[in-house]
């Protein structure tokens, strides 16, 4: 609520600044002009948003599946940890903007390179917290499982995997923030539609308000995804934040 009030105050100040300062609307459109663009260009914005949302959604899904699989593999196998983890860290030093055009050359202008780029960017932030959570499973709990005669797999399934879920959610939250940036970057490297493409097209055509409208939609989408994930976390993993729920300690 306070964040909303602050946002309204900023928008108000922005609006006033543009009007009182007689700022050229090509340089900085007023919030009212952006709102107008949202209404006028809604069909255009919507169809391009659908493209970008798909890229983000599929890229994130791919990153989640691969990241989870990778974290589990590294956690369970020492040789894989030694072989894979250093490469994984090194891979993060490769600047994605440089390889993005290459991926476009390989995979074309369609959906595939976008999914690959989003997945590449989001993969690492998912692996690290998940692996960390798996590795941090209470050593005494592992000992207890061993005293019950549990197999490695049983310990993983009954103890480690559930314990790592909050880590996975944290990773997903982190990668959400990067996913939109990655999708836009991918579109700028070569595409025929999407919100990033729309922004690139709008600026030379002096449609600054439309570009801002595209940015606004993307930001709202990310916030909505983040909120949905937080809600799911509170619903499905209430034990991960016991202090947040009402205590019923008798």
């Amino acid at each position: 609520m306070r964040a909303l009030a602050l946002l309204l105050a900023i928008a108000g100040g922005w609006e006033a600044y543009v009007h009182i300062g007689h700022v050229d609307e090509l340089l900085l459109p007023a919030p009212s002009a952006i709102a107008q663009a949202l209404v006028d260009d809604r069909a255009l914005l919507w169809s391009n948003f659908a493209v970008t949302a798909r890229e983000i959604g599929l890229g994130l899904a791919a990153a989640l599946v691969l990241g989870l699989a990778c974290a589990i593999a590294i956690h369970l196998s020492r040789p894989l940890r030694q072989a894979l983890y250093p490469l994984l860290v090194t891979s993060q030093t490769i600047p994605i903007p440089i390889i993005a055009p290459l991926l476009v050359v390989w995979f074309g202008y369609e959906l595939t390179p976008k999914i690959v780029i989003v997945a590449l960017v989001c993969f690492f932030p998912i692996v690290v917290p998940t692996l960390d959570a798996l590795d941090r499973t209470d050593a005494d709990l592992r000992k207890l499982m061993r005293s019950f005669g549990a197999s490695r797999w049983q310990t993983f399934r009954l103890v480690e995997a559930p314990a790592a879920l909050p880590g996975l959610v944290t990773g997903a939250k982190l990668s959400l923030a990067f996913a939109a940036i990655a999708a836009i970057l991918a579109e700028w490297s070569g595409s025929e539609n999407g919100l990033g493409h729309l922004v690139l097209q709008a600026l030379p055509n002096f449609e600054t308000a439309r570009a801002y409208a595209a940015v606004l939609i993307l930001a709202l989408f990310s916030v909505a995804l983040f909120a949905a994930l937080s809600l799911a976390e509170r619903r499905l993993l209430p034990w991960a934040h016991p202090h947040r729920s009402r205590g019923t300690t008798p």
């Binding site: 000992k143 207890l144 005293s147 019950f148 549990a150 049983q154 879920l165 034990w239 991960a240």
Partner: protein
Amino acid sequence: MQTRMTAPPEAPATDIGIDAVRLHRVDKVFAPARRGATAVTALKGVSLRAAPGEIVAVVGPSGCGKTTLLELVCGLTEPDAGTIEAQPAALMAQRDLLLPWAGAADNAALALRVNGVDRREARERATALLEDFGLHGFMQARPHELSGGMRQRVAFARTLLAGRPLLCLDEPFAALDALTRQDMQDWLAEALRADPRTVVLVTHDVEEAMVLADRVVVLSPRPGRVVATIAVDIARPRVRTDPQLVALRAQALEELRA
């Protein structure tokens, strides 16, 4: 009886099958944690036995290797010298180690699940036991919604349901406040009367040992050696103010200080 032997097998094998637990001159040395540090001898020449159905308490100062002793009995670690023979054991640690995402019934059922019992049957058996333990209405409650005493009861139920003839209890009530601890000691004495098992109970609380055990073994400071064995022939249920219990308690404390 399932036994585990470790070299050198110098123990006379005459009375295997009579004892549920038998340690013979066991040493345990921990390798230095880092270069330059010295190795730590946790246990030195410890011999200990428990007959089936007997409750043996091991008391000693902090750091005398009590927890190591239980890990040896449970087969979680191997001795550096001496032999250990023990029936299959279930360990109950000082911390309750309940799974924070699981309700009380599912937590108590953990060992059953490990043993391959399907989820529904495991939950039913756990629920039945927890009802006996006074946790009616808390089957779905997660650990953070339970009191400290309740959590220990769930942990004890889980240990019992592991189905092992031998229970290794590692300071099970150390984390509780004094009053709850006394209640839980009385409760455990009763629970063990209802479902007798061989118990090795490790504690630094001498009174707890006297209230619960048939025999109390006193360990020295590190390296842990057995300095005294005290038989507690007091009828149950025991009262803490019983003059005989008080006298034995004083005797154990004296041995600890010696």
